[in-house]
Amino acid sequence: MKSFASALLLAVLSQWLPAAAAAQLDEEMPAEAKTYVSPEHFAVEFRVGPYQPDMGGRKDFQAFFADDSGALFALELDVVAWRVPDILYLGAGGGIGWMNFEGKTIAQNGQKSSETTSMEMFPLNLVGVLRFDALARQLSVPFIVTGKLGYQWMNWSTDSGGRSDASGWSVGLLMGGQLGLDLDFFEPSAARSMDEEWGINHSFLFFELMKFVPSKASLPIGDLTWTVGLGFMF
């Protein structure tokens, strides 16, 4: 009971003390506490980035929404199916996002009117994820490389002057490549505290290139774009 109280006190104090003090606590902490790692089952990523549908090379979208790049706001949750410790994760997950574009309708004389035309999109996707973290875990190089391949269902709707014009789904392949910056590398003691307190094993900032390729039957609202965001393994 006494050791439990001591361990509890140490863990709570480590939240508040500066890094130097935390380092001192490291030395005093039981060996088991230093090596504690909570189970890893999931990854979650919050992302934001620009988006401009290519419309299959047509200029229609640009004519109305050239000044609007979204932005795309998205959330992805992955389930870790297989983990090779300190080397890679293999998993699958799903994501959801939202973006909205606004412009002005065009009068017959070719000038823009005061009326709003808009397009709203909700991307939903399922992806397979292969995440290599060997660089960060084995070589202390704080990068995590991730590849994704999946399928996306993009719900879209467009209106003009407050009246709905059309809506539908664009479906197709989704692929992405991500370079993550492992934040554990910069503040190991904070990373360990997050794991002890919250069960968050790792956190990372990332830059991701992604491409959506809608099928031929779909509205061509695909794009090769980039997003940045924050991710957690837990």
């Binding site: 504690y36 065009i106 009068a107």
Partner: protein, 376 residues
């Protein structure tokens, strides 16, 4: 890295949960406390003020809940002499009646100016006391009796309820009185919105204005299609492009019904005039529909309405134009863009059946993964 659960140092969220609970609970407790103290204190939110056992409550203003009206009486209500009803409790049965006054220190014996000839209070009415002090007494007063409705001002008169034997006398009521000083009169009209501009469109025609006003509840846009002489020509679009939303700045669509600085039309609108309301204190625009405008153009003016219901005079008069427009989807279709053999398609069509395979794949993947976990 292996997962090595270590029971003693398993994730401990209790301090954080406690902190979050505290963060959520503290404001709630503070709010509850504020409501409690406001509702029971003298002159508090509950609208009661007690002295000598008498308790007065404001029941209705013009038959409506005073809380919903923020205990405010506006100019129109004052002019119409709407009834203000109070409830008085704890009236001593040994007093004949209740005198109602408005003014300062009306519980003093000099309330009628009998000793100093400086009349400080205005006698409003006298109501007979109930037969028992347990009975509540309703007292109805005309709003017009409490202030001078012709003066454009803001005031909060103190209303006194004195338990007396002889009405309008100088008798000393001691502590047998109650007063109410939460009923506010706002008889001042707000300023009208400035820089009103009309836009152009087919289904959505915006009207914009500059809003630097305070205590505003809503804006009313008046549309006069009858006397407009403007036409939707090439210059409209150009004006829009320069001024952004609501940028049609021409003023040739004059109006015989709308004039800057004039009093806003009343409830009975003249023929040809349309009225649209937009609620919100910070609004700077409102959208008209194409149906609001009869023809290709119309004159518009905006009126601000404050929390007391006072209306400003009319703003400057601007023009709005109905012009055929093309949106993204119109352009896409006009240029031969099709989707799945014909849109709008509100759901996944047969051509999208192919998209079912990834779902099957993922479900299979999750199933295998779950089975592996169970078998460990």
């Amino acid at each position: 890295m292996d997962s090595k659960p270590f029971p003693i140092l398993a994730p401990r969220r209790t301090p954080w949960v406690a902190l979050c609970t505290l963060l959520v609970a503290a404001p709630l407790a503070a709010t509850a406390l504020a409501q409690f103290t406001g509702g029971t204190g003298v002159g508090g939110t509950g609208g009661t003020t007690a002295a000598g056992g008498l308790v007065v409550t404001l029941l209705t203003i013009d038959g409506k809940d005073p809380g919903a009206m923020k205990e405010l009486v506006g100019s129109a209500q004052c002019d119409n002499a709407v009834p203000v009803v109070f409830e008085l409790r704890g009236v001593p049965s040994d007093r004949e009646s209740i005198d109602v006054y408005t003014g300062d220190n009306c519980n003093s014996t000099d309330r009628n100016g009998s000793t100093t000839s400086a009349v400080r209070c205005k006698f409003i009415t006298n109501v007979a006391s109930p037969t028992s002090s347990a009975q509540a007494l309703e007292i109805k007063i005309s709003a017009a009796e409490l202030v001078n409705c012709d003066t454009a001002s803001e005031s909060t008169p103190t209303i006194w309820f004195l338990a007396v034997d002889v009405t309008e006398s100088a008798e000393d009521v001691g502590t047998r009185y109650a007063k109410y000083n939460k009923l506010a009169f706002d008889l001042r009209a707000p300023e009208p919105p400035s820089k009103v501009k009309g836009g152009s469109g087919e289904n959505q025609i915006p009207v914009t204005w500059t809003n630097k006003l305070s205590k505003i509840e809503k804006f009313i846009v008046y549309v006069d299609s009858g006397s407009g002489s403007g036409s939707a020509d090439a210059s409209i679009g150009a004006a829009d492009a320069g001024a952004g939303r609501g940028g049609a700045t021409r003023s040739e669509c004059g109006s015989g019904l709308l004039r800057e600085g004039a009093t806003a039309p009343g409830e009975n609108l003249p023929s040809g005039l349309v009225k649209r309301s937009y609620s919100g204190a910070t609004l700077t625009s409102g959208d008209l529909s194409g149906d609001d405008i009869d023809g290709k153009s119309a004159a518009v003016a905006v009126v601000a309405v404050d929390e007391a219901g006072n209306q400003s005079v009319l703003s400057n008069v601007a023009c709005v134009f109905v012009v055929p427009t093309e949106g993204f989807w119109d352009r896409y279709q006009a240029n031969g863009g099709t989707v799945d053999g014909g849109c709008p398609c509100a759901a996944l069509g047969p051509a999208h059946a192919e998209s079912a395979w990834p779902i099957a794949l993922v479900l299979g993947f999750i199933s295998v993964s779950a089975r592996r976990r169970r078998s460990r």
